[in-house]
């Protein structure tokens, strides 16, 4: 299914459906030709920030540009001068890496102006409704009202799992890391099968199990672009319900799964749920991938590349969606850690 737009008004109205929320004070890059991502960034606060952002986006686009690639730049801001400067800077930078910018638009709530051709027009509710109806017909979820609403979806009721945590920790001391890892892998498999929200008991047990880096890696390794949506669902829910002391691994897994699913905005929001003051190396790495605009397909290749020192036959719980012949994470890292990594 494709969302085909015919006019500038329709192009602007399509933006929330492309990125999952309605952006404000943002510059949005929309591919017109070529297999490029959609990009959204806050309008730069000053020239220096603007230069950095433009360079960064251009660098990432250059990795994926094909001959003939082109994009539209839409600046959604109250300041037409900022829109002119930012879109102009993007056009110059993108052009230098082989991506044309035939359309540069400044848009506010009720009108738009296209700088290249000097045309302008009105934005209409009818167009927004038409695009919304088309996406409903495609079976797509409707966009959230704002990026803040996307972030809020990752903040749930953390009380019930907080209550369940002491018992989960006590039970973990009476088990072994390998047993808890095997249970976590099996529980993930059950989620893949039924899609049901985890109980507070299972949620607490899984969050405690994730404090062991090897267990976390087994669940991380299960992720692929084919099942990323299910992982996003699981880890979004658990990130929202996890108390501070056990949230960093779940938030990082949510960030990674969101990136793998193509949703960079949700990925950033997930990483924001790593409690302030806690340093968690997986979160830093996922943030690096997001900042540099890595395409999720690169993970498939990295995941498929087995390195000899990564294989250890001593412990191989059945990975939920594992296929014969794929590798599992190695166990030659540091001993299991009990608590978020520092």
């Amino acid at each position: 299914m494709s969302l085909v737009v015919q006019t500038h008004d329709e192009l602007i109205a399509a933006i929330p459906h492309l990125i999952g929320f309605t952006p404000t004070e943002s510059a949005v890059v929309i591919p017109l030709k070529g297999n490029l991502p959609v990009v959204r960034v806050d309008m730069p606060r000053d020239d220096e920030e603007g230069r950095g952002v433009v360079k960064e986006i251009g660098g990432a686009l250059s990795r994926y540009a094909e001959p003939g690639s082109s994009v539209a730049v839409v600046c959604l801001t109250g300041d037409s001068h900022d829109a002119q400067l930012t879109s102009q800077a993007m056009a110059a930078e993108f052009d230098s890496v082989g991506v044309e910018v035939p359309v540069r638009i400044w848009a506010v709530a009720d009108r738009w102006m296209e700088f290249n051709a000097g045309r302008s027009g009105e934005r209409t509710p009818q167009t927004e409704n038409k695009l919304a109806a088309e996406t409903v017909a495609m079976g797509r979820a409707q966009p959230l009202q704002s990026r803040e609403a996307l972030a809020a979806a990752l903040e749930g009721d953390r009380g019930p799992i907080q209550v369940a945590l002491p018992a989960a920790r006590q039970a973990a001391t009476e088990s072994t890391p390998d047993q808890e890892c095997a249970w976590a892998v099996e529980r993930l498999g059950q989620f893949h099968h039924d899609g049901n929200r985890l109980s507070d008991h299972d949620g607490a047990r899984l969050l405690v199990a994730l404090e062991n880096t090897e267990t976390r890696d087994f669940l991380w390794h299960d992720m692929s672009r084919d099942n990323a949506e299910a992982h996003v669902s699981l880890w979004t829910d658990l990130t929202g319900r996890a108390p501070d002391e056990v949230r960093a691994p779940a938030a990082s897994l949510c960030g990674f799964a969101s990136w793998l699913h193509g949703d960079g905005a949700r990925a950033w929001c997930a990483l924001d749920q790593v409690p302030e003051g806690q340093s968690y190396s997986m979160a830093d790495l996922v943030g690096g991938a997001l900042q540099q605009g890595l395409h999720p397909s690169v993970w498939e290749k990295a995941r498929a590349a087995v390195e000899p020192d990564e294989i250890d036959e001593s412990f191989t719980p059945e990975t939920p969606t594992r296929h014969p012949g794929t590798e599992i994470p190695g166990r030659n890292g540091p001993p299991p850690r009990h608590g978020p990594e520092r």
């Binding site: 299914m1 999952g20 017109l32 960064e56 090897e214 990323a228 790495l285 540099q292 993970w299």
Partner: protein, 50 residues
């Protein structure tokens, strides 16, 4: 900050190898939302403009 240094797990090391080292102030840069088409889902729109 070099994200490729000293990773305690195979998965982290694998991801680190894909990322270019970032400058010290890398975390202060504005966040860029990259939206890529999922491999297999209903989200298969494209912004095409005539």
């Amino acid at each position: 900050m070099d994200l490729t240094d000293d990773h305690g797990s195979v998965q982290e090391a694998r991801l680190a190898r894909l990322i270019e080292p970032q400058p010290e102030n890398g975390r202060d840069r504005p966040r860029i939302d990259w939206i890529n088409e999922p491999k297999a889902s209903s989200r298969q729109e494209e912004g095409r403009h005539a």
